[in-house]
Symmetry: C2
Subunit: 320 residues, 2 copies
């Protein structure tokens, strides 16, 4: 279905902004560059270990701006609410939105609420659109990526995906895994003060690290080599994945960024990331290679090598 | 339910932007003023005489920017689609979005699509967020309104509301009423070139002319006097309203603006509006009065006077 939808959109909505297929658009606005991004949140359940739809709606949009090198400034927030939705729950979600916006330093400046009849939507859907200002000197793009550039991630992968599964009571065991849902702007934006260092950033949400890296190889036409042993995965996520037959590389993250850094600056950037509470477990997990072009391969712990493909289908629907 | 929701939001989301309760926020961005607005469209049915959800999603957001004195520039568009939604229908809607954006002179620069399981949403919901640039010298606000200012509307009221009802097959008769759904930016923005002339503009959508005028009186603390005989209502809308017991003052419009103009400039502005295809039936329908403060009253055709209140409930749900 996703491919069909993409085909429909590409047929009617071709323009230089959308053709980039990024999660955000960069636009000239006066003497500044504005970054605009939108996301609807349909996560199920609304509350999960480590977060809720309100927190997610702010973090997701803030992170989409931050990875574009934009300081998140303003949020427009629209809700579609099913008639009879409990006011107490709406209050908790709204409070979470407000708290998270404060924490991320963004202001919710405008909004919209539509109420639909019972049965016409599943509880509540939240859309957030973010406006940010692209930092001067930040010129992040896949075109800037070169072989030997290092790939950094700021911590353990797969936490959000497993936390939402846990929230659905689809797990019969309790590993107390919490979503990593967090606003990354205060971690990522200071890194851009180092000129010609950060080439590209992306948050590996739906489809996980594997999807993001595949998009990078397809966009840049270089290859990616990943070191399995370097990729941080908590023992709890590893165990759940083994039991359920899931691959952490494809699980959603909501507080992680893939950061592509010039080889010679990677050590310094890693140290800088590790100083931030959201980057303590950061690691260099691989690098850009000349070949195989357009492919991601993984050096496994056992010494083997395997291609990491795009996911065949949405591994977990309604994860965000 | 709407009051409850408003109370929840006001409790947690107080800030100078939201406290204005406008449909859009004006923000300083560099040396320019940016206008940001968001709306979710949940109209039922998706296609109705004179429009569809795609056309509506562009016009609604373009008009929310235009009435703030902002030139609409960019749109972020997010869709929530029910699994199994016909691709052919999605194609028609997307084409309509694209056509309408072109007509209004805005670019859809970023987007998002979420697919939810069958039964989790009613077909398709579309959110559009618009970014505009506030025209220099445009300082529209209810505070600028003064007694004797004239109230202009650019044409007949109630067409959208009745067209959607007709689309629902709730009418057993065919008056061939079409929605007035249209982008108003090219009609409204040129009016602002006349300095100190246009005080305030608003598009009377959900809740109709009555609701918009009540919001104006409550915001400005002046009164409004309406001349019933001056308010343009087509014979078809009049007939349907009589049969169904509806009041056209409360019916939704999607191609109308209420324009508050300095008394001495009203004649000139009316002539300018009438020259535009979307303003041919424009009329001065009343004026701002010192009393009764905060109230809208109507001089009826029969010579009586009655207060026009806020609607007690959503007259027609899912009208946009």
């Amino acid at each position: 279905m996703h491919d069909l939808i993409r085909d429909v959109f590409l047929r009617y909505l071709k323009n230089p902004y959308l053709d980039k297929m990024a999660d955000a658009a960069v636009i000239n606005f006066g003497e500044k560059k504005l970054c605009l991004t939108t996301d609807s949140f349909v996560v199920k359940p609304l509350f999960f270990p480590g977060g809720d739809i309100g927190k997610l709606a702010i973090c997701g949009t803030v992170n989409d701006l931050a990875v574009m090198g934009a300081r998140p400034l303003f949020i427009a927030c629209a809700m579609i609410i099913e008639e009879g939705f409990p006011m107490e729950t709406l209050g908790r979600i709204t409070q979470s939105l407000a708290n998270q916006a404060k924490m991320a330093g963004v202001e919710i400046v405008t909004g919209d609420v539509k109420v639909v009849e019972k049965g016409s939507c599943d509880g509540i859907f939240i859309n957030t659109t973010g406006v940010g200002e692209v930092l001067q000197g930040a010129s992040l793009s896949v075109e800037a990526i070169r072989p030997s550039d290092k790939i950094i991630i700021n911590g353990s992968i797969g936490l959000h995906g497993i936390a939402v599964l846990a929230g659905r009571k689809q797990l019969d065991f309790d590993f107390s895994i919490k979503s990593d849902c967090a606003p990354l702007n205060k971690l990522l934006l200071p890194l851009l003060k180092n000129p010609r260092t950060i080439k590209f950033m992306r948050d590996p949400t739906r489809g996980g690290l594997a999807t993001t890296l595949n998009e990078i190889t397809q966009g840049s036409n270089w290859g990616v080599m990943l070191e399995e042993k370097a990729i941080p995965v908590t023992p709890a996520v590893k165990s759940v994945c083994e039991i359920l037959g899931l691959d952490p590389l494809y699980l959603a993250n909501e507080g992680k960024a893939v950061i592509i850094v010039a080889d010679e600056k990677a050590g310094g950037i890693l140290r800088q990331i590790k100083k931030h509470p959201l980057g303590k477990e950061a690691r260099i997990i691989g690098q850009i290679e000349k070949s195989p072009r357009g492919k991601v391969y993984l050096k496994t712990i056992s010494g083997g090598k395997r291609i990491v493909d795009m996911p065949v289908a949405d591994v977990l629907p309604r994860i965000c």
